[in-house]
Amino acid sequence: MATGNDIVRFEDVCLSFGETRALDHVSFRLSAGETRVVFGAAGSGKTMLLKVAVGLVAPDSGRVYLMGQEITHLRESDLFDLRAHVGILFQEGALFDSLNIEENVAYPLVNQRALQHAGSNGSGRSVEERVRETLRFVELEQTLAKFPSELSGGMRRRVGIARAVVTEPALVLYDSPTAGLDPITANTIIALILKERDLRNAAAIMVTHRYQDGHLMANFRYNPNSGKIEPQPPAGDPARVSTRFFVMNQGRLVFEGSEAELQAAQDEYVRKFLRPTGG
């Protein structure tokens, strides 16, 4: 039985494509408001972890729970309602080329059945207002009428974040949000992710191969009063956002723990993801 408090729960999930094991007996749980940072080499199953979590890919065996409901054998049409509570930033953004930025960000608001029935998610604001607000949040309000091809890689990623969070989901999944970006843009993206997490206390799973991203997620937070990114309260403080790290290798979860535990890890593969954080 899944407890109601779990946002995501994997029980012994396996998935393979031919000979390749994408997920190998993966089990974990994520509670509301928590953050998970998933490290792993290319092809270690990180992206599949996210796709299985929202039912985009069905596992071969094991059970997956989303928002306390088992989704392992759920029909696609029933999944749509659950997915309305989840935002996803895909690798490279996956914005719709044929739609402009405004339409892209409005897409989940316009198309998600659950949101339509719920009367725009409890708030009386119009779709346009919410789209503008969200684009203002990622500081791209001026690009409303542009098309994705006209934006830079970093801007596309920011629009992707806007589209993922416009519905104010309880869980946001980030697939390599900083891949292929320069360090300055990458830090801007992480700052946005922190801001999103801390303003609404949303749960997050972030897949990345940059240690710096995880370090920032674990040790910094957005302060809505000052509007600045500041260090988190020390460990043990209830205000501190719980961030745990996963390391994946060939579909297996080979490490799970806090940042301190990660730094103390002896496994050679796990240690590969530890890089000097620059201060």
């Binding site: 796709k51 997915r83 490279e92 996956a94 080329d97 897409y107 989940p108 198309n111 059945r113 949101l115």
Partner: protein, 251 residues
């Protein structure tokens, strides 16, 4: 022993599943009528010029090649019959479909293929839309409406092309040509000539969508999907025109 048959049979089975869902979605909401009209414009209006051009040349060639033979038997007056029957039954539907397959199946496969490899299809599902409902069904409906219309236009232009040649080479009068062309067309020729493009439309749109949606392997995969879509839909057009033709031929 029959293991080599497994992949094609599985592929065909997957295709039937997609086709079934696409057709079922016609009767389910939500309906994306904007997408249907947009696709009609892209597929229909976009193909109109080239379809007219090919139709015209089909008629011209038929007339040109048949004229000497008919002249030999003193049957010049029959040119209208030959052109109209051949074009309405076979040449119009098949050539138009092959042309549209080259233009549209490839376009659909590459568009959907690019969407697949850039995760836009997954994004669509994640954001609460059924990609078959949103992408496949509108393309299928649009092609099924537009291809018979394009074929009618191609047939008509082909008959005009045939007339131009008949008049110039054989000196056939307009009234003789059009009367013989018209009177020898039976209702079942017309039914056959319209049933074919309707069936081909499903093949073209669904094959294009099918190979687009199962694209893998980056941009190279998109190229592969596009080529396969055109080849497979063209083959099916010839297979089906023979099969449908057989239903209508009585000896």
């Amino acid at each position: 022993m029959l293991d080599f048959l497994k992949p094609p049979v599985e592929t065909f089975q997957d295709f039937l599943v997609l086709a079934g869902r696409a057709v079922r979605n016609v009767f389910r909401s939500p309906h994306y009528s904007d997408d249907i009209f947009q696709q009609m414009d892209v597929i229909g209006v976009g193909s109109l010029f080239i379809v007219c051009l090919i139709g015209m040349f089909t008629g011209v060639i038929m007339s040109l090649q048949m004229a000497p033979m008919l002249n030999q038997y003193g049957a010049q007056g029959q040119v209208g019959v030959i052109v109209s029957v051949a074009i309405v039954r076979e040449m119009g539907p098949v050539l138009t479909a092959i042309l549209v397959a080259g233009r549209v199946a490839s376009g659909i496969a590459s568009e959907l293929g690019s969407m697949k490899v850039t995760e836009q299809i997954d994004a669509m599902r994640a954001l609460g839309t059924d990609p078959i409902q949103k992408l496949v069904t509108p393309r299928m409906i649009a092609t099924a409406v537009v291809l018979p219309l394009l074929t009618i236009i191609a047939d008509f232009i082909g008959l005009i092309g045939g007339f131009i040649m008949a008049k110039n080479l054989l000196g056939i009068s307009a009234s003789l040509y059009w009367t013989s062309a018209w009177q020898n067309l039976e209702p079942r020729d017309v039914v056959q000539g319209l049933l074919k493009p309707f069936v081909f439309a499903f093949v073209i749109a669904l094959v294009g969508c099918f190979y687009g949606m199962r694209t893998s392997g980056g941009t190279q995969g998109v190229g592969r999907a596009t080529t396969t879509a055109v080849v497979v839909s063209s083959i099916w057009i010839f297979v089906l025109t023979s099969a449908i033709g057989r239903l209508f031929v009585k000896i």
